[in-house]
């Protein structure tokens, strides 16, 4: 085998495509981080390095027509769901060719083709919207499943609970994915939630199926998500998955920040050891599904794709005002 396949052709390819998906996200995020100081990407970026397994594992359980909604930290979800890389990089560069035409930046990604219906940075804001998409699926019987991603800090917003209740009440085809990376910006869990908070018990008491798992184990994530998606698809209602993981870089921006005082280098190192990409790489190689050489070849292929996306973005024009969408979708009636 020369390179890892981008999409699984058969069962044997699945592990490789999981690895491919994670590697690709990792390399895209690394490229954003390394080029951010050029000041061509003039918008906040919340990178997902260290958290790739959640996005890839969940997306691997979804069909292309299924829907995803996400947050400020959306690059991984967008890419894993099949969002267009060029359009994302162009959007982060504020170009007219960006996925939101320059209205969104990193915090408002969208790819309608890929079923990525939007990511927004108001904490909790996209959760009920995802439930609404699932509600429409239920009303229309279109068989679509919706997944909403959010962080551990988001479980402090009331709208999260309101949405759990509604989803359970109507047995919506919906999967809630909580990426627990221990922090909300620079605030550790202990200043935000009481010790011993049990989100799985909470989900169950609200009437959902709920499970917790290692969010850095992409195959476990895929398995949990596959069960959740099957449950949703068959009308058995929503599932809440809590997946533990860790963000390697600063909350917003391209740098490491273990030195500024809110977390320790030692803690970081523990999680660095649990790198989801390295773990899956080792597994794939051990299983003989890929070799170091084939993975290197894949890296080269991804690097070229990333270079192309940045070149595309930098070559794209900025939007003119006439290209920008109005606040209203329908023309305002001029009654005269």
């Amino acid at each position: 085998m020369s390179t890892i396949p981008a999409r699984p052709a058969d069962a044997a390819d699945v592990g490789q495509s999981l690895l491919y998906g994670m590697l690709r996200i990792r390399m895209v995020e690394e490229a954003i981080a390394s080029r951010y100081h050029h000041e061509e990407m003039r918008c906040p970026v919340h990178l997902s390095i260290g958290q790739e397994a959640v996005a890839v594992g969940v997306a691997s359980a979804l069909d292309r027509r299924d829907a995803v909604l996400s947050t400020h930290r959306a690059h991984a979800h967008y890419l894993a769901k099949g969002g267009d890389l060029r359009a994302m990089i162009a959007e982060i560069h504020g170009r007219a060719t960006g996925c939101s035409g320059g209205m969104g930046g990193s915090m408002h990604l969208v790819d309608m083709e890929a079923g990525f219906l939007g990511s927004t940075p108001i904490v909790g804001g996209s959760i009920p919207v995802g439930a609404g998409v699932a509600f429409a699926s239920k009303q229309r019987g279109d068989g679509r499943v919706t997944a909403v991603f959010f962080g551990d800090g988001t479980t402090e917003e009331g709208v999260f609970y309101e949405t759990l209740n509604f989803a359970a009440l109507h047995r919506l085809p919906l999967v809630f994915i909580c990426e627990d990376n221990l922090y909300s910006v620079y605030s550790p869990r202990e200043v935000r939630q009481p010790a011993g908070r049990d989100l799985v018990a909470l989900g169950r008491s609200m009437g959902l199926a709920a499970e917790r798992g290692d969010g850095n184990d992409v195959r476990l994530v895929r398995d949990l998500a596959t069960r959740a998606v099957a449950r949703a698809r068959s009308g058995d209602g929503p599932t809440l998955l809590e997946l533990s993981t860790y963000r390697w870089l600063e909350h917003c921006g391209p740098n490491y920040d273990n030195d500024i005082g809110y977390r320790s280098e030692a803690e970081f190192e523990v999680w660095r050891e649990r790198c989801p990409v390295e773990r899956e790489t080792a597994r794939v190689i051990a299983a003989g599904e890929a070799t170091v050489a084939s993975i290197d070849a894949t890296r080269l292929r991804i690097a070229a794709e990333v270079d192309d996306a940045f070149a595309f973005a930098l070559a794209s024009p900025f939007p003119e005002d006439r290209d920008l969408p109005a606040a209203y979708a329908s023309p305002l009636v001029n009654p005269r």
Binding site: G132, V133, A136, A327, P335
Partner: protein, 352 residues
């Protein structure tokens, strides 16, 4: 062939026809299918269209607004109701941050054809938290349209237009209008969003009003007419977009302007009306324009105090006379407001 029905029945009829015409339309809100049927505006609709299209919901205003938005971007056309505007304050995150912006912030790829029906309470001790009229707040945010009918005809036509519209429309109903009767065509029709109506022609002054205050302005105009003053009444019907042309054209004719609004003064719709006139009709104005709005206080619950809280015919008449340089004159009881204290009519009694 005229047919008189109530404002509430007109809303129900519009909803019924929209549900009938388009399978994507659905109706959701606290108490929508209950025996009171949102003051009679939703009665029988669940029986007719089923629990999937006409449904109750949990008391979760913010999430349910998000759900409505999500369903709208997925192709549905929700009508969401809250029995008081005040409850919608819980959902302004979803309305302002998401509903108003979803179309634009993703580059115009999605639309949010959502109607939110909000009711303004008044009288019978509604008090500080059940009587706010917050149309000005909704109007401030780009991406939201805001309508505020004052007649059964417009109630039906504007609701139908709102449901057919591809944007978010905030549809504001004054509780005292639900019982008002008027001509309503039986078939489906729309009243265009963004078009005011000259509710009464006149030549001495323009009264710009909306919603329930239109009735007060019309009553004031009637009494003023007895007294030889000719007031034109412009019923905005839509707060946003506001019909600047209608305001400027009327002021051009009458050369005087009094804005009568049912909300608070500071940065309210009446401020906007005056600002538009000052910018675009400064030269036409023969005297300083004025505003009649709620006082800068919260609604008392005690009924005599609440009665004094709401400006109506006497205040309008007094202000108009003053603007025209006429001496004060007291308004006979039959022209004052409804004359029934804190109820719009004797048949309409609390609790409501």
């Amino acid at each position: 062939m005229t047919r008189e029905i109530t404002f509430a029945a007109a809303i129900r009829e519009a909803t019924d026809q929209c549900l009938q015409a388009d399978p994507r339309v659905y109706l959701m809100g606290l108490g929508v299918p209950d025996p009171k049927g949102i003051f009679g505006t939703t009665t029988g609709l669940q029986e007719a269209y089923g629990v999937d299209r006409v449904l109750d919901m949990p008391a979760s205003e913010n999430a349910m607004t998000g759900v409505a938005i999500g369903s709208a971007i997925a192709g549905q056309r929700p009508i969401l109701t809250h029995q008081r505007v005040d409850f919608a304050l819980l959902s302004l995150d979803q309305l302002f941050n998401n509903a108003a912006k979803w179309h634009a912030m993703f580059g115009g790829q999605m639309r949010v054809p959502l109607v939110v029906r909000l009711m303004v309470g008044r009288g019978w001790g509604q008090g500080p938290q059940h009587s706010q009229s917050l149309h000005s707040l909704f109007g401030h945010v780009p991406g939201l349209k805001v309508v505020m009918p004052s007649t059964p005809h417009d109630a039906k036509g504007l609701l139908t237009a709102a449901v057919q519209d591809d944007d978010v429309v905030i549809y504001i109903e004054h509780r005292w209008l639900h019982g008002v009767v008027g001509d309503v065509p039986a078939g489906t029709y729309t009243v265009p969003i963004g078009a005011a109506r000259v509710a009464r022609e006149g030549s001495d002054i323009t009264l710009v009003a909306s919603g329930y205050q239109t009735l007060e302005a019309l009553r004031a105009a009637e009494w003023l007419a007895e007294d030889g003053v000719s007031a034109e009444v412009v019923d905005l019907r839509s707060i946003k977009p506001i019909d600047e042309h209608a305001i400027v054209a009327s002021v051009g004719r009458t050369r005087r302007l009094l804005a009568v609004d049912g909300g608070w003064r500071f940065a309210g719709v009446a401020s906007e009306v005056l600002a538009i006139a000052a910018e675009q009709a400064h030269a036409s104005l023969s005297t300083a324009p004025r505003r009649i709005t709620l006082p800068e206080r919260h609604t008392p619950t005690s009924w005599p105090a609440a009665q004094r809280y709401y400006p109506g015919v006497p205040e309008i008449v007094a202000t108009v006379r003053d603007m025209l340089g006429l001496p004060p004159q007291s308004v006979p009881p039959q022209w004052r407001e409804s004359g029934y204290g804190d109820q719009p009519s004797p048949s309409f009694r609390g609790p409501f």
